[in-house]
Each structure stands twice: as C-alpha cells, then as structure tokens.
C-alpha cells in the first residue's frame, strides 16, 4: 500500500527497510489496522496471529525485530508473551510494543514491568503507531 515514490516524510524517517515485525491481536480488524500501520512505517510483516501462544511460537522461530502485542489475548496475554520473550536469551533482544484497551497507569506500569519497550493505549492514532514502530526499529548507524 506504500507509495512507489518515497514521500518527504519517508525520506526523513529512519531506514526501516527489511525490518521484520510480528503482529498479534485477537481482533481481526485491529490486527489488520496494526499491520497497515506497520507497513506504512516501511516494515515487513513476518507473522500476524490472533493468540498469545501462536505469537510466542512464531517469535521463537522467526526472531522478528519487533513484536506488536495486544495485552488481552487468548492463549497467553501480551504481558505473559512479553515476559517469556525477555526470559529467553534467544528472544530477549526482540523489541516489544504493547497495545491495550486498558489505559490506566497501572496497566502501563504492568506493561513496562513485563519488559515492553513501549506501550500504546487503544484507541491509538494510526500516525502515532507508525511513529512508534519507526522509533523502535530504527537501525543505529554502524
């Protein structure tokens, strides 16, 4: 869906080409929305799943650069997936962005305590999500 020609915004944005992202949300519509935003950020979707267990399995096999996880999912919650990824050295370096419909401070604190790099409350602005994905996946210049 990206434009063929890079827009001025894209040119100013960090280089995200080839960045691999995993998306997990049990709501199909929201999963698609998140996927759209991730592609808008110039990243590649390596997996799009609807439950926590599948998200964990895929993360272990695909080893993406970033996992965008919904907090409330069947199987394992986003917080549990987050903690499991951080506990395993093989997956510990995966960037994690949590999305949640709970917007209280306790929710944010719980998300960050579980090891997430960033936290976005639903409903989020698509532009905000794009920005957040870019920031989390920006390759440091060698």
């Amino acid at each position: 869906v990206d434009t063929a020609l890079p827009t001025p915004a894209d040119m100013a944005a960090p280089d995200t080409a080839g960045i691999r992202v995993l998306v997990a949300d049990d709501e199909d519509d929201i999963r698609n929305l998140v996927s759209l935003a991730v592609r808008k950020a110039g990243c590649h979707i390596v997996g799009s799943v609807a439950d926590g267990t599948a998200a964990l399995d895929l993360a272990r096999t695909e080893l993406p650069d970033l996992a965008v996880l919904d907090v409330s999912m069947p199987g394992a919650t986003g917080l549990e997936v987050c903690a499991a990824l951080r506990a395993d050295p093989a997956t510990a370096r995966i960037g994690i962005l949590l999305l949640s419909a709970g917007a209280s401070l306790e929710d944010v604190a719980a998300g960050l305590a579980a090891g997430a790099d960033a936290y976005l409350a639903k409903p989020f602005q698509v532009s905000g999500l794009v920005h957040q994905v870019r920031a989390l996946t920006a390759r440091q210049p060698a």
């Binding site: 827009t7 929201i30 929305l33 709970g102 401070l105 409903p123």
Partner: protein
C-alpha cells in the same frame, strides 16, 4: 453511765417504746408530770381516809378531818385538770401546797402525830420541781403544817412546838428537799439527754431509711439500664458486637457475633481471645505497616492512635470460612475512666465486597469491549481521512469528520464512565506533580475555541502573567477545567460570553476569601468559569454534582450530555483537597469556582 452509754442503751430499745414515749411527750408533758408527782400524796390520803373509816386513827374534830380530806381531794382534782401555769399559780407548786393544807387540817382534826408523815408526799413533790423554789416552799409549808394544829386548838404555843415548826421541821425538809431536788435535777437532765438522743436517733433512722430507699432506687435504675443495654445489644443480630478486656479476652459476644462467627456465647466469653478470629497473616501485615508489636497491639494500633478505627478485617468463622468484615474498633473505659478493653463492632461485608469486585470487573470489561470497536472505527477513519493517494471530496470529508467527532465523543463517554467507576471503587489515584494552572486554563480555552466560535460564544481569559502552581495531577485538572469550560459554552446561547479567570487568594479558617495574604489564612488558587447562559434553577443546584443528573434547563434547551461531567469535576476537585462552588440565576448565567489549595510561599 456516760452519755454515750445512755445513747447506746436508748438506741438499743425497740422502736415501739420510742414511739410511745414520743406520743406521751407530745400529748401533755406538764400535766403528766404534775399528776404523776401528786400520785403518792393522793394514795397516802386515800390510805388515811380508809384508816379513819376503820377507826384506826383517832378523830378529834370531825369537821376538820372532813375539811382535810376534801382539801386533799381538791388538790388531786386540780392536778388532774390543770396542766399549765395559770394566773392563779403554778400547778406544780399549787397542788402540793393544797395537799400540805390538807395534811395540816387532818393533823389538827385527828391530833395524831402519825398523820404528820403525810407531809412527805407533797414535800417530795415540791422538792422534785425544777429549781430551788420548790424546796423553800416545802420547808416553809412544813413549818406551817406543824404550827396549824396548835394555832387551831387556840392553846398556848409551847417552845418545843416552835422549835419543831420553825427550825427542825423546815431544816430537815429543806436539806432533804435539796438532796431530792438535786437528784431530780440530774434525772431530769438525763431524761432531757435521753430525749435529745431519742430525737437524734429518730432523725438518723429516717436518714438511714431515706438513704436505703435512694440506694434501692438507684440499684433498680442501674439494673434497668443494664437490662436495656443488654437487650439492645442482644437485639443486634446483623452486626457483631464483641467486647474484650485489655488482653483481648472476649467478655461481650452478642447474637450478631454468634451468627457471623458460628459460636454460642458460652463457648467464647472468657474462653477465647479476639485474635483467634483473625487471620494471622493480616495481623502480621498490620504490625509491619504500623511498626507496632504483633497480635492485639497490631489489631488495635490505629484505634489507640486515633481514638477509633474502621477498616476491613478478615474474620474466620467456626466453620473455617473467611468473612470480610468492616470492623469499627474503639477503646473502652470503666466508670473510673481507666482503659478497660476494646470494642469491636463488625458488619459482614463479604457479599458487598464481592458485588463491588464484580461491578468493578464489569465496568472494566464494558469499557474494554467498547474501546475495541472504537479503536477500529477511529483507526480506519484516520486512514481514510489521511489517505493522500485517494483524497476525499469535500462533502465526504465533512461526513466522515462528523463520524470521527462522534466516535471521539463516544470514547470520552466511555472514559468518563470508567473514571466514575474508579472513583466509586476508591481506585482513583492521582499522579501528583507541580501543575501551572495558567497553562491548564489556556489549554482549556484552546480546546473549546473552535466550538465556541461556531456557537457564537465569546471566550475571555483572565489569568495572571506569572505561573500559578498547585500540587496536582495535570491530566485530571485539565479534564476538570475542560469540563467546566465546555459546559459553559454548551449552556450559553449565541452572543453570550464565557469568562475564565484565575487568581491567587487566601482562605480564612471561617471560609472567607481575601486577596491579601494573612497569617491565619491558607493560600489557595481560585479558578472561575462564568457564563451568560441559561442558568440552573436554585432548587436543582444541590443535585448538580450527582451522577447522571441533568438540570431541567439543560433538558428544556435540549443541550446534549449525560450528566457525568460535573460529577467527575467534583470528584477530581475533592481528590485534590479543593472545593467546587457555584452561583447561578436562571436566565442570567452561572459561575463555577474551583478552589484548590496551593503551597505557602
């Protein structure tokens, strides 16, 4: 016998004797004495009369004898009839004198020396009268009695008669009389003392009886009061009332406690400690929190510090079931004011707390379920509105912007509902920081600017140039200010004006506001939002901060809203230790004033 002994002896006598004595004394004291004193003489005259009749005594002159007996009778009659001293004379002296006259006549009439012994009766009666006067009268009278027979016989007075009548007789009678008089005086004194003691004893008896009656009444009142208290405590079946001594041993255990904890009173009172019904973990946590010792000290620590303490504790019933109980703990004193133990009044909140938890879960579930579709709606709308490849026609953009605005409104409503639920559940927490209220007010004006412009309402901002800082939660204070400002705009017709003003002020202890700092006044920040809108009827102003309440003016004018904004604003204000006041006149406008405490300079 000492006075005390007499008193003791008198007090020891039966009450009936005392009663009789008092009655006699009251009836005729003087007459009784005169009559009693005349009795020996009367008896002797009677014996003399009998002896005369039996011819055992000689009769020299019958007329004189008769006159003597008549006189004797007259004396007794006077004693019988006259009691008090009269104009004629004192009967105490008159009666014996009459009797002496009778003796003189009888002596002359019989010529017998034996009859002279009759003189003893009146003489003793005279000697016994109070004072020495009676003794003198007796002595003189005796002399006269001795002289009369000789004088009546018209025979020459012999020297021995003169010696007897003028010297020996009166002298003997006088000396003897003095002794009798002294004895009578002493007896009289003792009798008076006895009388006084009797009266004193009667008074004491009355006092003792009165005191006993009072004590009896007090005892019965105390018993009645205790009975009332017991019956009141026993009537409480839905609350546990437990009283312990200072060591926590249970002394009071009402039916409510029996029902709540499943143990009858006899199995608990004086046998168990209150601690046996508490969870040890909770007591340990309380001990850690308060830094006090464990056990009872931890349980009553807050009550000891503050005089009373109400909080939830877990009681463990006899069947092992935990109960969540809201317990009010207070210290108890005895009648001397000494600390005697503790009272624990508990209400079983197990079901209520479970319901609260369910309500909490329900609200967060609903809020989650509402946010999820809103996330999709708003997200896809954003994609469509911001798609640079496929720009929308103006009409489409207007329609979709309307959709977006309403979705935003729905989202705010969900947020407000969740927030009020959090306030209800007491889970509303503030993130305190230094908040510059001038920024908050300017931001609120900015937020409402477009809407106000569209509605034709002028918004005026009057804030100080320098920052006005209060401790608080920037997001929540912004929400409160936004609510007030958007309300003001919403309720003001086109052409009206909304004024936002912010000032530093000082609040005196009696609630008055001053613009000058005073040592006794607390520094506050006052944020006022005034409008020239439709106003709020006076009768409805008290209900304005109630959730879902909408003023009749709001409904009549079809102003949109659900009635959560002011309830939320009020909750935020209260959580900041501030107050929210309003002044409003229907048709003229409304001013809301938010007063927040600010740190002393």
């Amino acid at each position: 016998m000492t006075t005390l002994d007499v008193g003791a002896a008198v007090l020891g006598r039966s009450a009936s004797r005392a009663w009789l004595g008092r009655r006699l004394a009251v009836l005729a004291p003087a007459r009784a004495t005169v009559l009693r004193r005349s009795l020996p003489s009367t008896a002797m005259f009677a014996v003399t009369a009998v002896l005369l009749g039996a011819r055992a005594l000689p009769v020299a002159d019958g007329e004189l004898v008769l006159a003597g007996l008549a006189t004797a009778f007259l004396g007794t009659l006077v004693a019988r009839v006259v009691a008090r001293p009269t104009a004629v004379g004192d009967p105490a002296l008159a009666v014996p004198l009459i009797h002496l006259g009778a003796v003189a006549l009888l002596s002359a009439g019989t010529g017998s020396v034996a009859v002279l012994f009759l003189v003893l009766g009146p003489v003793l009666a005279l000697a016994a009268t109070p004072g020495r006067r009676g003794v003198l009268v007796a002595a003189v009278g005796t002399g006269a009695v001795l002289l009369v027979p000789t004088l009546l016989a018209s025979s020459p007075v012999s020297p021995d008669t003169l010696t007897g009548a003028l010297l020996l007789g009166p002298l003997t009678v006088g000396l003897g009389g003095l002794a009798v008089n002294e004895r009578a005086r002493r007896l009289g004194g003792q009798a008076a003392e006895i009388g006084r003691l009797e009266a004193e004893r009667a008074l004491l008896l009355t006092q003792v009886q009165t005191r006993a009656d009072e004590l009896d009444l007090a005892t019965r009142m105390l018993a009645a009061r205790a009975q009332t208290m017991t019956s009141v405590i026993d009537a409480v079946t839905e609350q546990s009332i437990i009283g312990t001594d200072r060591d926590g041993v249970i002394r009071v255990w009402n039916p409510g406690a029996e029902k709540m904890l499943g143990l009858p009173r006899p199995e608990v009172v004086r046998k168990r400690s209150i601690l046996e019904f508490h969870l040890p973990e909770e007591l340990e946590a309380a001990a850690e929190e308060s830094g006090s010792a464990t056990g009872l000290a931890a349980l009553v620590h807050a009550a000891q510090e503050h005089g009373s303490d109400v909080r939830d504790w877990t009681y463990v019933a006899a069947d092992g079931q935990p109960r969540t109980v809201s317990v009010a703990i207070t210290p108890r004193s005895d009648d001397q004011g000494t600390h005697a133990g503790w009272n624990f009044v508990g209400t079983d909140m197990t079901e209520a707390r479970a319901t609260e938890r369910m309500k909490d879960q329900f609200v967060s579930l609903i809020s989650h379920e509402l946010r999820t579709p809103l996330t999709s709606i708003l997200g896809y709308l954003e994609l469509v509105l911001d798609d640079e490849d496929q720009p929308l026609a103006d009409e489409q953009r207007t329609y979709l912007t309307t959709v977006e605005r309403n979705a935003d409104r729905l989202l705010r409503l969900v947020g407000d509902l969740l927030f009020t639920a959090q306030v209800d559940a007491g889970r509303f927490t503030l993130e305190p920081e230094d908040v510059d209220l001038t920024t908050v007010v300017r931001a609120a004006e900015e937020t409402v600017r477009v809407t106000a412009g569209a509605a034709g309402v002028e918004v005026v901002v009057d804030v100080p140039e320098n920052a006005l800082v209060v401790p608080g939660d920037a997001v929540r204070l912004g929400q409160a200010c936004d609510n007030l400002v958007s309300n003001a705009v919403k309720f003001t017709p086109a052409g009206g004006r909304v004024t936002l003003s912010l000032h530093a002020a000082w609040q005196t202890p009696d609630g008055e506001m001053t613009t000058e700092g005073r040592p006794d006044a607390a520094p506050v920040a006052r944020l006022s939002v005034s409008d020239t809108g439709i106003g709020i009827p006076t009768g409805e102003q008290g209900k304005l901060f109630t959730r879902f309440f909408r003023a009749s003016t709001a409904q009549r004018n079809a102003v949109p809203g659900v009635g959560l904004g002011l309830a939320i604003t009020k909750a935020i204000t209260t959580a900041h230790g501030g107050t929210l006041d309003l002044v409003s006149a229907e048709g003229a406008g409304t001013t809301f004033t938010l007063t927040l405490p600010r740190p002393a300079a």
